[in-house]
Symmetry: C2
Subunit: 431 residues, 2 copies
């Protein structure tokens, strides 16, 4: 029989947590247990001052000089180098820029351009039906334009779908709905055996689970700056491309968003495009420096974490947090109709727990928010994919007692029936 | 004989300037005459507080709630509506998002998609050889991919190039090097007579000269948020599309950066892309809210200017400033070897003055910067396009005495020979 921790046990775990000090790097709103860091990360304490400095001094006083003096020119690379450290990439391999959707367009177009050159007979992109929709839309648009077919499958059918006619396997590493995690290395190896390139969306992985892009042999990756990386609302995203692809010289327009920031000599102002070497060619236009400055602050917390064991230590805590929540759902929330969509097996789990319930998921999330427990709701499709109550557990700033309290609030919401209050009813689809 | 104003005359003009109060809305660095607002606009006084509020309160305290409570969801539209007012567009026709290069890709791809459907025999994009390079690179990439030819011509050959085989005329309204302005209405009419769609880059027009997109019959436009709109470093850009094109339902992937923010129901999370109505389909991914907040502050200065005559009054002052500078170059700088690349005719002039000189242009700009007069340098090509000393005159915050003083500094730099000091020699191409 499994031992179920008490609140007291959880407080002890927090007191003994070697990562506990990392929480002090963030400003958390009072009275809130924030389990939505998988949607929008919290505020690093350094960000207000750093952004204010960028506004008042770098912009206001130094103006255009700051492109050099404040390092604005190289900020996408410098932030990219910090991101590289948490995703198994090397310095100079990552750029922080644009949005995830736009970066996905860049790398998916590049993957198709490479395939067109190397394997012109291939006709398909394979992805997961419950992939985050913007990924599917971007792929749909490119397929429409290039005459490829987008084949969407359930997770257990991916391996079987990797046939010789497939050009690209495009997956989100950790599923945004269920928190289920793919085996990047195994799927990449299976894909490569069929001459298939792999594109990974790390939106729910970067900063949440250890990622080893170079070790796994992946071809392309993109990810989000404003979730687990704590870069602020709409923070620039990132893009990584394996050096064997960035340095292909036979495809000057491999990356079709061929703006001046990806040019070999952007300030030569030549009329012809010559791609820069390496990942720089995946830049396009000028980046939002204020938002990028905030993302830089978010990344600094991960640098601090390195002395405490880095992503391996964060992963260990993350699994303990998600495991604890699932255990509390199974024990203290038994009989309240919840299913657990997130895999019990640790190797298959990201840093969130998704609950299912045949009715009331939206209202229950609202009732929790009213109590200061912030998770979110994702609607199902009435079929294979049920409504989801989504709880992100960010090991940088969530503790064991937070998890216990969140489960206890959920228990009270169900036990009291307060979730059935009319004020929590579904008002509209935007939550 | 033309009367040349003295410094005293210019101070009197400033004292009588009905737009003078607008300068108070900006924080200008002490001891600087800033003539580079065409590269990076200055800091609106409201921005530090507004951005700090967005960081500490909207992000730090309210977190994901701010998508609704702080209006983050609609910020691209709300800022777009403010931009619409200075470019002759209607509310709901403009989105502030992404970079100019990326927005150009969206509209140029859309123009080609429309052409492909309506006039499949057309094979060319026409542009100007000295167009801003990123525009040419984006066009080059699309031509490469779609089998179109990019035909680059000198400004006086544009009309002759508008033949039946041309799909798109892509121009920057005001040239970044010379400040020469095209006649948008006349060129659009000539283009339309041949079934050619027009794409206008307003990077050096929006907020600098009156633009009448709807009145001119243009098809597509993009522009920059961080130049004359004073949105801060790397501020999001904007995009406008004529409603006749946005509402074409036969081309669901007209705009190929088909991200979730351009979806008809982004939070329905459906696997299939359905474009939103109107300009919303030109959105792609999540926008950098902190940078967009700063741009919103920049646009508020233009709203204040409306009570003082708006863009028409700003244009009148802009022409007076650029005309004054050119007059001072012709009179007080006579014999120092400067040519004027900017058209003397007002209808052909943007809000900058570009000087040419066979040698020393870079060093002269550096010597001026050392004196606190900030313009910039753009290298020539050794042929048709000479080296340029570029001076932007932003009527929101530049006065007549500033112009006089800038010309006087330039006179002293030349007279003393200080520009020949070794410390002003060209160090590298990035200026």
């Amino acid at each position: 029989m499994t031992f179920t921790p008490t609140l007291q046990d959880c407080k002890l775990l927090d007191a003994q947590d070697p990562l506990r000090s990392l929480r002090d790097q963030f400003d958390l709103p009072a009275g809130v247990i924030y389990l939505d860091g998988n949607s929008l990360g919290v505020l690093p304490k350094t960000a207000p001052t750093r952004v204010a400095q960028a506004v008042a001094h770098e912009w206001g006083q130094d103006l255009i000089k700051s492109w050099n003096s404040a390092g604005w020119f190289t900020l996408p690379q410098r932030v990219g180098d910090k991101i590289a450290r948490v995703i198994g990439a090397l310095p100079g391999e990552v750029i922080a820029a644009d949005s995830t959707s736009i970066n996905l367009f860049k790398v998916l177009a590049a993957a198709l351009n490479i395939t067109q050159a190397d394997h012109p007979h291939k006709t398909k992109i394979v992805s997961e039906r419950s992939n985050f929709p913007t990924d599917l839309y971007i792929a749909e648009a490119l397929c429409h334009e290039r005459g490829y077919t987008l084949q969407l499958v359930e997770p257990d059918k991916i391996a079987a779908a990797l046939q010789a006619d497939v050009a690209v396997l495009m997956l989100t590493h950790v599923n945004y709905r269920t928190g289920a995690m793919h085996d990047m290395q195994a799927l990449t190896a299976q894909a490569h055996a069929q001459g298939i390139l792999t594109v990974w969306d790390l939106a729910h992985s970067a900063g949440a689970v250890p990622v080893d892009l170079n070790g796994s042999g992946a071809d392309f990756a993109v990810g989000c700056g404003y979730k687990y990386l704590n870069g602020g609302p709409g923070a620039p995203a990132f893009v990584w491309v394996h050096p064997q692809h960035t340095n292909r010289l036979d495809l000057p327009f491999m990356q079709p968003l061929a703006g001046w920031w990806g040019h070999a000599a952007p300030f030569a102002f030549t009329p012809d495009y010559q791609p820069a070497k390496g990942i720089t060619r995946y830049q396009c236009g000028t980046q939002p420096i204020l938002s990028l400055t905030a993302l830089d602050c978010g990344m600094d917390a991960f640098l601090s974490a390195e002395a405490l064991g880095g992503m391996a230590a964060l992963r260990q805590k993350s699994l303990a947090l998600t495991g604890l929540f699932m255990q509390l759902v199974r024990t203290r929330l038994h009989g309240h109709g919840f299913g657990i969509a997130t895999p019990a097996e640790e190797a298959l789990r990201g840093s969130q727990v998704s609950l299912t319930r045949t009715e009331g998921a939206y209202a229950i999330v609202q009732a929790l928010i009213a109590r200061g427990v912030m998770g979110d709701f994702r609607a199902g499709d009435g079929g294979l994919h049920p409504d989801i109550l989504r709880f992100g557990f960010t090991p940088l700033y969530i503790g064991y007692a937070d998890v216990w309290q969140a489960a206890e609030h959920l228990r009270q919401v169900m036990h009291s029936g307060e979730w059935q209050d009319a004020r929590f009813a579904l008002q509209n689809a935007v939550t």
